[in-house]
């Protein structure tokens, strides 16, 4: 029951929200998100104490013909992502406060719908259900970007939509393919694991590629990433936050749950190449970030670098790598949303996010500069921030996979510092100019938000095992499954 509540709670608030006035709607949405957050926290906490509780499982028949069930389940892995979603969305909604947005009711409703879809993606234990939620998440975010986005939005958001849809259609193909090979024609994740493992190596490779296309586009991984910077820049702030903070985790999450364990042999054959691609996107994203003049675009590219590392860690399929990826998903979600909020604060006041036009803001707003710095350090992965734990574990995992690859992936340590500090310097340091003089101080609301982010960054930097412990067992199971299957084939 609890999982069902988790899923539908945000959407339940939509009609309520629509009843109220524009002004009130923000509060209602925040209440919705906070309620959902409480439920999310409660579920996460409950799961830690009593993971076998029946309330974490919801299974009803959905499409009898296809043997597809409406099966939601909270488990070690997705509880982290549900936690992330429920944690981030209140912040995202809060960030609309003090911003003048037309049609705010529609905007907030779309966000709440989006949340339901995202939670659905994470909770679904049935491949078809997963797919439906996956696509479902695309529509609200598309409308958010289309209706509320920047100048060039029509073309860019459309490219984003078609690009991601392109990938997911291949996923659909792969799902169908595996499904017709399941024993009793079932979409259940476990029968998928069973059926996928029995496919021939070649078939598994094809299924792998089809799945990979969908997930790699969503994440995005080089060279399928070009939709991302434009979309991030043109989407409204909250859209960017949703996209980068949560939505791309759909991809990385799916890698762990839906890709590798379903076709272990496919993974075995392709892992080398996909890890190289991931590492390329680490270096490439960082290099691209280094040359950007636009702050938001720089963040977009830096995000490519970070998620590339997450993907690489997952493909290593060892405990440290995958756990690091789990943790980095959470960290990256928090950090990137915080950074985009920082960007929003700046653009809201300065009407530009060209870094060369800025400078010296640190003179004007001290609190802002400090909080920005902490958030930035989280992203740079300084020890005792959340970013470090993930990055270290990821590098650790990659290292076990291959010692050469890790050196390239490790470049993120240097390049990350380089572009982030460059941005910080361009925006904050130096003397104020005519533009930045008028920056003023940040409002209480903004201060609270940033402080919460900073607090979260340090908190998760200090106590990573609150999260890591929860997912460890299940990740071990998946890794064992994958290695069992691949080992069996070696024996044959």
């Amino acid at each position: 029951m609890l999982v069902l509540l988790l899923l539908i709670l945000p959407v339940l608030f939509v009609p309520i929200l629509l009843l109220f006035s524009e002004k009130q709607s923000k509060n209602i949405a925040l209440v919705a998100a906070l309620t959902e957050m409480c439920v999310g926290f409660f579920a996460f906490y409950q799961y830690q104490i009593n993971p076998t509780c029946a309330c974490f499982n919801w299974n009803t028949i959905w499409i009898q013909n296809l043997n597809a069930n409406f099966h939601l389940q909270l488990n070690g892995i997705n509880s982290v992502l549900v936690l992330l979603t429920t944690l981030i969305v209140p912040f995202i909604i809060q960030s609309t406060f003090e911003r003048d947005i037309k049609n705010i009711k529609a905007y907030l409703s779309l966000m709440l719908m989006m949340q339901t879809a995202l939670v659905g993606v994470f909770l679904a234990q049935d491949a078809l259900l997963f797919y439906i939620f996956w696509e479902l998440a695309l529509i609200p975010i598309y409308l958010i970007c289309l209706v509320f986005g920047g100048e060039n939005r029509q073309k860019i958001t459309f490219k984003f939509f078609v690009y991601t849809l392109f990938g997911s259609l291949f996923m659909l193909l792969a799902i169908i393919y595996v499904w017709i090979h399941t024993e009793n024609r079932s979409f259940d994740i476990h029968s998928f694991y069973k059926a996928g493992a029995l496919l021939t190596a070649k078939e598994q490779l094809f299924v792998f590629i089809a799945f990979y296309l969908a997930f790699a586009i969503k994440i995005p991984i080089f060279p399928l990433h070009t939709w991302q910077p434009d979309t991030y820049v043109n989407a409204p702030t909250q859209g960017t936050m949703l996209l980068s903070g949560i939505m791309l985790k759909m991809g990385t999450y799916a890698l762990i749950i839906w890709l590798i364990p379903v076709v272990p042999l496919g993974w075995q054959q392709a892992s080398k190449y996909v890890i190289i691609l991931s590492v390329i996107s680490v270096v490439y994203g960082s290099l691209m970030a280094l040359t950007q003049h636009n702050f938001k675009r720089m963040l977009a590219y830096s995000s490519i670098g970070h998620v590339g590392l997450i993907a690489a860690g997952i493909f290593t399929m060892n405990l440290q790598g995958v756990q690091g990826a789990m943790y980095q998903m959470l960290s990256h979600g928090i950090n990137v949303v915080a950074l985009f909020f920082v960007c929003d604060i700046i653009t809201n006041r300065m009407k530009t996010d060209e870094m060369h036009k800025l400078g010296g803001i640190r003179n004007v707003s001290r609190v802002f500069s400090v909080l920005f710095l902490i958030i930035l350090l989280g992203s740079v992965a300084l020890p005792l921030t959340n970013g470090f734990v993930g990055e270290f574990l990821l590098l650790h995992g990659l290292f076990q996979y291959n010692t050469v690859v890790v050196v390239f992936a490790g470049l993120t340590v240097i390049l990350g510092a380089l572009y982030m500090l460059r941005a910080y310097q361009l925006i904050m340091h130096g003397d104020t100019n005519a533009l930045t003089e008028s920056f003023g101080v940040i409002t209480v609301n903004e201060k609270i938000l940033l402080a919460c982010f900073a607090g979260l960054i340090i908190f998760f930097g200090l106590f990573p095992n609150l999260i890591l412990d929860g997912s460890e067992n299940q990740i071990k199971q998946i890794i064992d499954h994958v290695h069992e299957v691949t080992a069996m084939v070696v024996k044959k």
Binding site: Q64, Y131, V147, F158, V162, L165, L173
Partner: protein
């Protein structure tokens, strides 16, 4: 039998009503009659009645569910077209024509005899020729009717020729006998049979506007009055595709080797060409015409990839497509301007129209949770089950192009700068219809097997 009688009776009633000066009651009477028809169909389906009408028609489950769909669509269509007919002087003629062509649809869904096939096609087509030209002062409308008629005659010729060839080859008009004789029959001329079936195939392909017999479609769709276009792209299409299914699902069972390749070529071409050409259209009506070609391709593909679930797949696809198409045309009629720019900022002018259009387009684009998603899904499922992954990939890519042009409209609705900012008023009948059709599209998409359990089990 009673469904056939009811439909024909309604048509005759509409003609008579003109004479007895009861024009006002035509509309309610027709709606009531169609509701009754729905009831009949449901009743027969539930009871599991199998009615064999003189070895000409066989009313088992599948024709009945198609008729059910026909009746539902017809109700929607009449509600939609009500205003359009209001100004017409010969209102009852139009009603009668439409109802008669529905009889043709009914025949096409249920025939077991080749003569019924021919009759069905003609009964279906002739009223539509007239309807296409019903905007008498519009040269485009006239041209459309003319083209449709000429090319339609061409197709009818092929059909007749095909039927004779088949009869010559097998000595039978019964579809089942014809199909089975290709393996069983003694004294059967395989060549004649094959050529004959091919000719029938071409004629039917013309009716469903499959590539390369599709040339008439865009011109006729664009030229005909929009309500008629809506009628053609939903009900006529339903009839033609049902007729196609009726024959070739049996033919393929017995002689897959001969026809599968040809059918695959036709359906893939239809999917690809329809979608690709649609990508560069800026006239919504024409765009929908090409997109209807693409959808027909999907149904043909479903027809080709046989499996036990094929009837349901075909039926479901047709339901999803016709409902979405109906909704899209409904909005188009209300807008009364066929350029895509007419949709600019529609969400501000009338949210209901915008919402319905979006749902309809998303459904046609095949995006969950709309009905169109599962429609495409089932087709792909069958295709992959038949080990034709490559074809599935082509279909997927083509439908991706579909997304491109459907979203041109969605983008215009939500973020275009409106040319005309006047709000659009809707009658309550329109509102109910639009809401109902939207709900149906979503409901079908969320619970795709509800109908299966209800109708096919």
């Amino acid at each position: 039998m009673k469904e056939l009688l009811l439909l024909s009776g309604l048509g005759i009633f509409a003609l008579l009503a003109e004479m007895i000066n009861a024009r006002k009651i035509i509309f309610p009477a027709v709606i009531a009659g169609l509701c009754l028809n729905i009831f009949f169909c449901l009743n027969d389906i539930m009871a599991g009645n199998n009615e064999n009408i003189f070895n000409m028609l066989l009313l088992d489950k599948i024709p009945l569910v198609f008729t059910l769909l026909l009746s539902v669509l017809a109700i929607f269509w009449f509600v939609m077209a009500k205003n359009y007919f209001k100004d017409e002087t010969n209102l009852s003629d139009h009603f009668a024509l439409v109802l008669f062509s529905m009889v043709g649809v009914f025949l096409l869904t249920s025939y077991t005899h080749m003569s019924m096939l021919f009759l069905g096609v003609e009964i279906l087509s002739i009223p539509v020729y007239v309807l296409a030209g019903s905007d008498k002062r519009n040269t485009y409308s006239n041209e459309a009717a003319f083209k449709y008629f000429l090319l339609g005659a061409f197709a009818s010729g092929f059909l007749l020729l095909g039927i004779t060839f088949v009869y010559g080859g097998t000595g039978s008009f019964n579809t089942l006998q014809i199909a089975s004789s290709s393996v069983l029959g003694a004294g059967v001329s395989k060549q004649l049979l094959t050529i004959g079936l091919l000719l029938i195939l071409f004629a039917m392909a013309f009716k469903v506007s499959a590539v390369p017999f599709h040339f008439w479609t865009p011109d006729v769709y664009t030229g005909a009055p929009t309500v008629v276009t809506a009628y053609m792209s939903t009900i006529v299409k339903l009839g033609a595709l049902a007729g196609f299914y009726r024959l070739f699902s049996i033919v393929l069972v017995f002689d897959a080797t001969t026809f599968t390749t040809t059918l695959i070529i036709i359906s893939v071409l239809t999917i690809v060409v329809g979608n690709v050409i649609a990508a560069s259209q800026s006239n919504t009506k024409r765009l929908l015409a090409f997109s209807s070609i693409g959808h027909a391709g999907f149904v043909l593909l479903a027809n080709t990839m046989l499996s036990p679930s094929t009837p349901y797949v075909v039926w479901y696809y047709l339901t999803a497509y016709t409902l979405s198409s109906m909704a899209a045309f409904w909005v188009l009629i209300k807008l009364d301007n066929h350029d895509i720019s007419a949709f600019n900022g529609l969400v501000k002018r009338n949210p209901l129209l915008a919402g319905t259009m979006t749902i309809a387009l998303l459904s046609m684009a095949g995006i969950p949770p709309m009905a169109g998603f599962f429609a495409k899904y089932f087709v792909l499922l069958n295709t992959i089950q038949n080990k034709s992954v490559l074809i599935a990939v082509i279909a997927i890519l083509a439908s991706l192009i579909g997304v491109y042009y459907y979203f041109k409209i969605i983008i215009a609705i939500f973020s275009g700068k409106e040319i005309n900012s006047a709000k659009i008023e809707l009658s309550w009948l329109d509102k109910i219809g639009l809401v109902l059709i939207s709900i149906l599209i979503i409901l079908l998409g969320v619970l795709p097997d509800a109908c299966y359990n209800l109708l096919f089990r």
